[in-house]
């Protein structure tokens, strides 16, 4: 029995999970909203532990990932590429690629059946097409974040959007609204633009067939998933199928917890061998 906790500190939210070997016991997600991520990590850790009546000393390994290098009470830190890959395979054993869209970054990771990273590609420098970007747009349109996906699915004439700056999106959206374009068409246009960026990332990794698992905060956006599926067809990458998972947002934290257990067991083996 090895209890491990995985903590994934993103730029938008802190995700925490509790595992007993390969068994998932508890989960927490907390939006940061200008609070201190380190305190939220502590809070998440205490909550998942207390939910299963475990003391701090019962936890064999506390693994952080994402921007969690500086969590004081952690046992070790894992790179987010490896944790998302591992978490992706845990959620969907068929997954051969993980597409993760966080609040600020997007990335595509090409993996094998054991969750080993074969190659990856990440957006950088620009927040266009990120989670924060979509959230800004939703705010200007007066749409709740949960409504984005379903609304986008009803679009008949998606408005073509070239990649737009996350900050200038406000005026772009005002312009579209003033031209009389319906909200679903704006949202769908944005989803298509985001999807085409993600497909480009996927292409660079070299993957040609298998299941692509969407992870991160936007994984539950059915509009984005649909746009991604359509974009794969348009780009004639028919070997890939895009899918999501209800717990996709925890992928990084899950991976961290699993890698934590692996490292813990390795260390124990090593110590046993030295002792013997």
């Amino acid at each position: 029995m090895t209890y491990t906790v995985g903590i994934d500190i993103g730029s938008g939210a802190v995700k925490t999970v509790l595992f007993n070997d390969n068994q998932w016991l508890a989960k927490r997600v907390e939006r940061i909203r200008r609070r201190d991520p380190m305190e939220l990590a502590r809070q998440g850790f205490d909550e998942v532990r207390q939910e299963k009546n475990l003391a701090e000393k019962d936890i064999s390994y506390i693994a952080t990932t994402g921007e969690g290098e500086n969590v004081k009470f952690a046992t070790g830190h894992f790179y987010s590429m490896t944790t998302h890959a591992r978490g992706g395979v845990f959620l969907n054993p068929e997954a051969r690629a993980v597409v993760d869209i966080g609040a600020l970054n997007g990335r595509a990771i090409y993996i094998d059946e054991r969750g080993k990273v074969l190659s990856y590609k990440m957006t950088s420098q620009c927040a266009s097409g990120s989670g924060q970007f979509l959230e800004n747009i939703a705010r200007y349109l007066g749409t709740a974040v949960e409504e984005i996906g379903p609304l986008s699915r009803t679009s008949k004439n998606p408005e073509k959007v070239s990649s737009i700056c996350a900050v200038l999106a406000e005026t772009d959206v005002i312009n579209m609204v003033s031209r009389g374009i319906a909200t679903p068409d704006i949202l769908k246009g944005i989803h298509i633009s985001m999807a085409s960026r993600l497909v480009k990332l996927l292409k660079v990794t070299g993957i040609t067939k298998g299941t692509v698992l969407l992870t991160g905060g936007l994984a539950l956006d059915v509009g984005l998933l649909a746009a991604l599926q359509e974009e794969l067809v348009n780009e004639k990458i028919s070997g890939l199928t895009a899918t999501s998972h209800p717990d996709s947002i925890y992928a990084g934290a899950i991976g961290a917890a699993l890698w934590g257990a692996y490292r813990h067991n390795k260390l124990r083996e090593l110590q046993a061998r030295i002792a013997a």
Binding site: Q125, A127, C165, T171, S178
Partner: protein
């Protein structure tokens, strides 16, 4: 008299400049662009023409000498009285629209009653807003009326037993309709009513009533004929003009800077949504340009976003950055990432003023690279746009220019926000005076 008008339809504000036959700038007008470009263009033009009338009043009254020594006070009072008249009309309009927008079922009659109380109070306070020395944060009706409405609404709602957010809801639904109305017809009546108010406020001037009113009436009766209009800016494609009347903002900015400073060779414009570096020749004609487009990093919006992140006003950033004692390097390009970096650095204990100075430097560094791509900086160098008002940005720019290009004459005009409109007005003047064109409207072209 013949007027030549330039309109610069920006993403945040719309500017207009009116020029006479001798190319003297008579008036400037500005309004917020809203979501309706036609209205914004009409109102900016109306404001500029109005400012032009005031310039003419002053000139005529000076000639008549009826107000020896009291001219400035009189004109100032007249202007405030005029704004008051205008405000009262819009307020009455808003009251009506609000009344129509009350749709809360059973609560409606209570909300309506609260609205009537609120508007009576708003009307009562109007005069104080335009009293001598009264400070207003903005001259746009939406901002003035909005601030008052919010301030008084809370108490009125409580007294009347209605929900504050119901009052806010009515305001939000009504203000767009009111601010999109052009009160063109009432300018003259407002001016005459304002004149009466001014006589009451300055009773000494009544002795010369005839000698004051006559020239003002004469100016009012002078038709300010639009000889030619040229539109430019972000929204120029949506102006109701034929394409003969539209110039690119690069051309207008280049020419505008040349008109302000005839020795200008390089122009840097940092506006709300884009940054332009323009090289012009001695006639103000564009030789080359570079711009950063559709990315907030490096334009004014970058500072706006940072101000929001810091919960500060945009105008407070510059002064704060001026207090910096240390160089902080901002590594992020993207505005959103810079916002995240700002929070990280604050968490690491860096001082706010030092980070602010770093952010100002970052935006100017972006501008420097755009300038370099456009062909570098040549003497004289003119800096325009909203960011030219920010002292910390100017300080960064001055230092970087000196380090990279040596000593230069840096021109910054307090009216630099009108540069594009000034260029457009100059194009309008040239079209008529040098090319002999006359105005043509889109409708006419279509027919």
């Amino acid at each position: 008299m013949k007027c030549f008008i330039g309109i610069d339809l920006g993403s945040t504000t719309t500017k207009a400049v009116v020029m006479d036959e001798r190319r003297t700038v008579l008036g400037r007008g500005i309004t917020n662009s809203r979501s309706n470009y036609d209205t914004a263009a009409a109102i900016a033009k109306q404001e500029a023409l109005l400012a032009a009338r005031f310039v003419l009043f002053r000139k005529e009254l000076e000639k008549g000498r009826a107000l020896n020594g009291g001219l400035e006070a009189f004109i100032g009072q007249l202007e405030r009285d005029f704004r008051l008249e205008q405000y009262l009309e819009q307020l009455a309009d808003l009251a009506q629209v609000c009344e129509r927008n009350v749709k809360f079922g059973d609560a409606s009659s209570a909300v309506s009653a609260a609205l009537r109380t609120l508007f009576t109070e708003l009307q009562g306070q109007a005069a104080a807003l335009f009293a001598p020395g009264a400070r207003r944060k903005s001259d746009f009706f939406r901002d003035i009326a909005g601030a008052q409405y919010l301030a008084l609404g809370e108490r009125v709602a409580k007294d009347a037993g209605v929900r504050y957010d119901q009052l806010l809801n009515v305001f939000d639904r009504s203000i767009i309709e009111v601010e999109n109305r052009v009160y063109d017809a009432s300018i003259k009546t407002h001016l005459l009513a304002a004149l009466e108010r001014t006589y009451r406020a300055l009773p000494d001037t009544l002795r010369h009533k005839e000698r004051i009113s006559a020239p003002i009436q004469a100016v009012l009766d002078t038709e300010m004929a639009e000889a030619y209009v040229v539109g430019t800016g972000y929204g120029r494609a949506r102006l109701p003009f034929s394409k003969e009347h539209i110039r690119s903002e690069i051309l207008c900015h280049g020419l505008g800077a040349h008109v302000m400073y005839p020795n200008t060779a390089t122009v840097l414009d940092i506006g709300g949504q884009d940054t332009k570096a323009i090289q012009i020749d001695q006639q103000g004609i564009v030789e080359s340009f570079q711009m950063n487009d559709r990315c907030a990093a490096g334009c004014g919006r970058y500072l706006g976003y940072i101000a929001d992140e810091m919960n500060m006003g945009l105008h407070e950033l510059g002064p704060l950055a001026m207090k910096a004692t240390k160089n902080v390097r901002i590594n992020s390009t993207c505005t959103v990432f810079a916002g995240a970096e700002l929070r990280d650095r604050l968490a690491l204990g860096e001082k706010r003023e030092d980070i602010m100075a770093g952010l100002h430097r970052a935006i100017i560094l972006r501008a420097m690279s755009i300038l370099a791509r456009s062909g570098g900086i040549r003497n004289e160098f003119t800096f325009t746009g909203g960011v030219a008002k920010n002292e910390a940005a100017v300080k960064s720019l001055t230092g970087l220019v000196r380090d990279n290009y040596g000593e230069m004459t840096l021109n910054i005009n307090p009216d630099s926000i009108y540069t594009g409109a000034l260029g457009a007005a100059t194009f309008a003047w040239r079209a008529v005076m040098e090319e002999g064109r006359s105005i043509e409207h889109k409708e006419k072209v279509a027919a």
